[in-house]
Structures are given as structure tokens and as C-alpha cells.
């Protein structure tokens, strides 16, 4: 299945101070990207049941609610209703973040027969050794941060474009990585919300984190790294 490209977000023009009747550009709606693999293709690291629920229910809900919030925002801006604009911010961050984060996540994992789990080669592999000493050391740190995260959130391997180094960060709920730093680019994100692992691992999040590395798609992460550090 081909991965439909993420719809690029066109910015809504803020017609608040224009006296001409410039209408905002047509509102973009988002839709669920297809997975480039079958739901069961990541077993036994992640069960097919989880993949299906995660993709068809959770991710879809974020997209549905994001579209709804954007539509409401569009209306509120046109009406000059600032109080509604302000009230919608958290729904936009939450649902938009959920959409973005999960879209990245599906590309961060891949079936073993498509090189999921294969250690990073190329410049990212080298950068990991420089920043963390070894891949094992990186994995240990990410797993520690992921296990320690209280509640719901994500653990990230990111590139700080300004300082030109790799960082490990966590974000709460569906906050995207940029909320931790405007210059941070996500290379790898691991969903540690309970829905990502509960049916299979129950409350043993550390086991989920240990096993997910068997299907991590380093090719994708390396691609992003090389592009962003050029």
C-alpha cells in the first residue's frame, strides 16, 4: 500500500485586519494515511490487533477532531470571535499533534523483512556513536525516559538543527516535539500512551520499549537526518 503523502497545511489567512473582502483560502481537510505494511506485519513486537485499533480508531479520531476544530477555527476567525479562537487552541494542539505524531510513528516502524530493526548506517549511525557512545547506550536512555514518563506522551530522538546535535526528549499527551524547542526535528518517536501497548503488554511498558527496537525503521530516521542536517 502506498503511503499517501501528508496533506501540507496551508496557513489560514487571518482576515482580521483586512478591509478588503479577501476570503480565506479553502479549508484543507486531512485524511488517514495508509500504512505501508499490513497490520500483522510487525508481530510479535506489536500485535496486529493493536496496530489496527491504533491506526483505524485512535489516529482516525485525532484526524476527525482536528478537521472539526480547524473548521470551527475558520468560522471563528471569519466572525472575529476571538474568545472561540482562544478556546480552540488546546483542541488544535491535541488533535493536530495526535495526527502529526502518529503519521511520523507509522514511518518509524517497519516489518523485519523490510529492514525493520536493522541498525542505522550512514551519517545517523555515526552521529549516534558521537552523541551517545553507541546504539545500545542510546536505546537504554530512550527506554529509561520512556518508562519514566508519567501518564500519556511520547519519547523522541530528535535533531537540534541549531546546535547540530542529537537529543532525547519526552513530550506529554500529544504535544509535538517542537513544543520542546523550535529547532527540534523529530527523527524517531515512540508512542507511550497505554493504547499503544496495553492489549499486548498490559502495564509492563518496559517490555514494550525493549521489543519495539526489533521493528524500528532506521532507514527513515536516517533519511530525515541527512536531509535536515544538509
Amino acid at each position: 500500500m502506498a503511503l499517501r503523502s501528508l496533506a501540507t497545511r496551508k496557513t489560514l489567512t487571518l482576515g482580521l485586519n483586512s478591509t478588503r473582502l479577501t476570503q480565506s483560502r479553502a479549508l484543507q481537510t486531512f485524511s488517514l494515511p495508509d500504512l505501508p505494511y499490513d497490520y500483522g506485519a510487525l508481530e510479535p513486537a506489536i500485535s496486529g490487533e493493536i496496530m489496527q485499533l491504533h491506526h483505524q480508531k485512535h489516529h482516525q479520531t485525532y484526524i476527525t477532531n482536528y478537521n472539526k476544530a480547524l473548521e470551527q477555527l475558520h468560522e471563528a476567525i471569519q466572525k472575529g470571535d476571538f474568545s472561540t479562537v482562544a478556546k480552540l487552541q488546546s483542541a488544535i494542539k491535541f488533535n493536530g499533534g495526535g495526527h502529526i505524531n502518529h503519521s511520523i510513528f507509522w514511518q518509524n516502524i517497519a516489518p523485519i523483512r523490510e529492514e525493520g530493526g536493522e541498525p542505522p548506517k550512514g551519517s545517523l549511525g555515526w552521529a549516534i556513536d558521537t552523541n551517545f557512545g553507541s546504539l545500545e547506550s542510546l536505546i537504554q536512555k530512550i527506554n529509561a525516559e520512556g518508562a519514566a514518563l508519567q501518564g500519556s506522551g511520547w519519547v523522541w530522538l530528535g535533531l537540534d538543527k541549531e546546535l547540530k546535535k542529537l537529543v532525547i526528549e519526552t513530550t506529554a499527551n500529544q504535544d509535538p516535539l517542537v513544543t520542546k524547542g523550535a529547532h527540534l526535528v523529530p527523527l524517531l518517536g515512540i508512542d507511550v500512551w497505554e493504547h499503544a501497548y496495553y492489549l499486548q503488554y498490559k502495564n509492563v511498558r518496559p517490555d514494550y520499549l525493549k521489543n519495539i527496537w526489533k521493528v524500528i525503521n532506521w532507514k527513515y530516521a536516517n533519511g530525515v537526518y541527512e536531509k535536515e542536517s544538509a
Binding site: L53, K57, H58, T61, S90, F94, Q150, G151, S152, G153, A172, N173, Q174, W193, E194, H195, Y198, L199, K202, N203
Partner: protein, 198 residues
């Protein structure tokens, strides 16, 4: 709520919090002799929680959660509690809607509560994130519902609405709530009682 869900939620999650808390408390004597309430408030540390807070609060929260439910629960409260709900929400139906709305609008992990607010002297439905507990805001909890995904995922997958309405229809223990309300009223001054003259 299925047997399996209870086995895992109570037997693994709740038990885990108790064990971990005991381990943490074993390290020093500072908090020795505190009640659970005191423990939660002390470790909350006015918004800068200490490492023990999460475990202490989750033990407290789950203790109330099991108390907030009973087999054959649901239905409606009676007497004083029903009167107070009607006074503060307009009607029991409004209260149910507010409870549902609050539960479904929670982002991420957390809890929904029915509390008696000390200062406002009224009941309210509030939500809290992660393990936060309204006693740190000095309010008195009457009931709660666990909205962490682990609380409903085995039985309902991501259908939160079904979980919350099942709780309201079949699980919530108004008996327990009425008892807690009676105790809570001792701490809030509702003014002179209207004693009917014979």
C-alpha cells in the same frame, strides 16, 4: 467491568502503586505516621510534586475508585445528595451530562471527580490530569472515575463514551456517595438548617 479488567487493574496496577510507595517510604522516616490524606498533600508539595506523590496519589485515587462502585450500581441518589445535585446542577440529567462531557473532554490520562467544593459550598464535576487529586485543592471528593486508558481498554478498547455511560448506569455506588457526602457536609458550612416547626 470484566473480571479480567479488575484482576489487572486492582491486582497489578493498584498493587504496584502500593508496593512502590512502600518501597519509597521505606527509605526515610520523614513521612512516618501520616495518613493517606496527609501523605498526598505533603508529597504534592504545593505543585512541585516529590517523587512519592505519584504513587501516593494513585493509591488514594484507586482506593476511592473501588469504593465508588458496587455490583448492581447505577440508578439515582436519594435524599440529601439528590437534593444537593438538583440544586447545584439543575437536575440529575444535567449532572449526568456534565459528568459525561467532562470525562470525554479530558486530554491524556486522568480522573473525573464529583467533589464538594469547600469555598463555593456546592457540588461540582471536575477533571484532573495524571494522578492529581482534588484534596490538594482543598476540595472534598465524593466519587471518582479512572479515565486512564488502562481502566477501560481491555473491556472497551477506545470507546470511552460506552465506558463512562456503563459506569453511570451499572456501576456507580450512590450509597457510598451518600455516606461520603454526609461526612463531607460536616466540614462545609451550609448555613442554618431549616428545621420544620411542628
Amino acid at each position: 467491568m470484566s473480571k479480567r479488567a479488575l484482576e489487572v487493574h486492582w491486582g497489578v496496577h493498584h498493587r504496584g502503586f502500593v508496593d512502590d510507595l512502600n518501597k519509597q517510604l521505606g527509605k526515610s522516616d520523614i513521612l512516618y505516621g501520616s495518613t493517606m490524606d496527609e501523605l498526598v498533600k505533603a508529597t504534592y508539595n504545593n505543585g512541585n510534586p516529590l517523587p512519592e506523590f505519584n504513587n501516593a496519589a494513585e493509591v488514594w485515587n484507586h482506593d476511592l475508585f473501588w469504593e465508588s462502585m458496587q455490583p448492581g450500581g447505577g440508578g439515582m441518589p436519594k435524599l440529601g445528595l439528590l437534593e444537593q445535585i438538583e440544586k447545584d446542577f439543575g437536575s440529575f440529567t444535567n449532572f449526568r451530562e456534565k459528568f459525561m462531557e467532562t470525562a470525554l473532554s479530558l486530554f491524556g490520562s486522568g480522573w473525573v471527580w464529583v467533589v464538594l467544593k469547600r469555598r463555593e459550598k456546592r457540588l461540582a464535576v471536575v477533571k484532573s490530569s495524571n494522578s492529581i487529586n482534588p484534596i490538594v485543592w482543598d476540595d472534598i471528593p465524593i466519587l471518582n472515575l479512572d479515565m486512564w486508558e488502562h481502566a477501560y481498554y481491555l473491556d472497551y478498547k477506545n470507546d470511552k463514551a460506552k465506558y463512562v455511560s456503563t459506569f453511570m448506569n451499572h456501576l456507580v455506588s450512590w450509597n457510598a456517595a451518600m455516606v461520603r457526602m454526609a461526612c463531607a457536609e460536616a466540614f462545609v458550612n451550609f448555613g442554618e438548617p431549616k428545621i420544620p416547626i411542628a
